[in-house]
Amino acid sequence: MVTLLINAIKRLQVSTLLPIRTYVSVNPQSIPLDNSLVVTKKEWKFPPAYTKPREVWIENLDTLEEKKLGLFELHPSVYATTPRIDIIHRNVVWQRKYRWVSWAHTKTRAEVRGGGKKPWPQKGLGRARHGSIRSPLFRGGGVAHGPRSGKTHFFMLPFHLRIQGLTSTLSTKLAQDDLHIVKDLELPSDEPDFLLDLIESRNWGPSVLIVDDSDLAPRNITAAADAIAHVNIMPVYGLNVYSMLKHDTLILTLSAAAKIEERILQHLHSITTDKEASFKLNQV
């Protein structure tokens, strides 16, 4: 009995070295204590009227441990709007549909082989009248109103729903602490393990979408992200609702965040009649 108790107590011994893992991505130790932080205040052409600008940390990627390099302001019309999940959903449905071509195919009664001859005389047999054994009523006959292949599901979502989809998703990501701003994309090595460790240590979730202002990302991060299927790099013009939702965390560079903000603010404050016009196939 005593030995049982002793064994139980031995098993209860908990290693005191286990780190307590917090599920907040801001690590208080990463904030420098001296007043060396650079707080960037922005002068917008269209300053927010009521909602306050959102302040976000500028983080680094060049070391494994997190360093806060400064604070950055984001415009609330882009990064702090009401998260309209209905509009986000419409964007996702649109993005799935516009590229979807359905190849399901059935044969009509004309395409099924045979059936040219009248199976039995019209009258005198006491049987139902039929003109072909490939009629849709027959087993092995053609299909009436079945799917025909090469059906496109392309359509264009209205322009402002696309804009609102982007702002809603960016706002949701920021509110859920899934949007991080980094200074640049310079990594010390091109090892995928380094990038994986970095993502692990910062609680950035398994899948990460990195968005940069330019088409050409630095070599190290390109090589590292290329080897990991769930870490992807994208230029600003490729940013879309579907990819943002598909990845757990969205990493924007400073310039990318500013560019997205500038472009969306311009659309929100300009005449968009030409963009609201119905989509023409030859316009691209």
Partner: protein, 204 residues
């Protein structure tokens, strides 16, 4: 018309027409017409020419008036000259321009006030500086719904204030509907002018 090639009515063709017209005019009112057989013949020739020139074409671009001119003007490309601001003046605005503050606005437009930003709720102006309060008509105009859109802040407090205001003003219960996610309030009935008046008095 292919892109990149400039088309224009050639100067020569224009001149030919002009000369021909002048010629006909002078032949008609001169002795030439009566005394000279050649005059009539010349006139007929010129008229024929003009008929040819003024005949109908499938499009203006395909008519012989239009010639391809590779280079019409001599120009040189300069960058950042002082004249550029005059070119910029002609270009359309990229964004809707800011409102220029004035003493009064003859159009009746009311500017938003600064103190409205301290209220617990807020209605921002649209991109065209209008107040987003609209009348929604449906069922052939039988159902009138006043809609206040783009509400920021405490939407439920705003709803209470609106209800109280309309009840005291019209001495009857007014039905409203609050959409918290899409940030709008709908009021059953046409209260657009009341709501606009209220919004401007608040400074929105």
């Amino acid at each position: 018309m292919s892109a990149g090639v400039r088309h224009n009515v050639s100067f020569e063709t224009n001149n030919i027409v002009l000369i021909a017209l002048v010629a006909i005019r002078s032949i008609r009112y001169s002795k030439w017409r009566r005394c000279c057989v050649h005059g009539a013949r010349l006139r007929g020739f010129l008229l024929e020419k003009i008929n040819f020139l003024t005949s109908q074409y499938s499009s203006f671009a395909k008519s012989p008036f239009v010639d391809k001119i590779t280079e019409q003007y001599n120009y040189e490309i300069t960058k950042n000259p002082t004249e550029w601001k005059f070119v910029e003046r002609l270009m359309p605005f990229k964004t809707i321009p800011q409102v220029v503050p004035k003493e009064s606005y003859p159009s009746g437009w009311i500017p938003p006030k600064e103190e409205a930003r301290k209220l617990p709720y807020f209605i921002p102006r649209t991109k065209n500086y209008a107040i987003p309060i609209y009348l929604q008509l449906s069922f052939k105009g039988n159902r009138k719904i006043t809609q206040l859109k783009k509400i920021e802040g405490d939407i439920w407090l705003m709803n209470d204030d609106i209800k109280h205001l309309l009840k005291t003003k019209h001495k009857r219960y007014v039905e409203t509907r609050v959409h918290e996610v899409a940030r709008f309030i709908e009021i059953k009935g046409d209260y657009v002018n009341d709501m606009k008046e209220w919004a401007f008095s608040k400074g929105f």
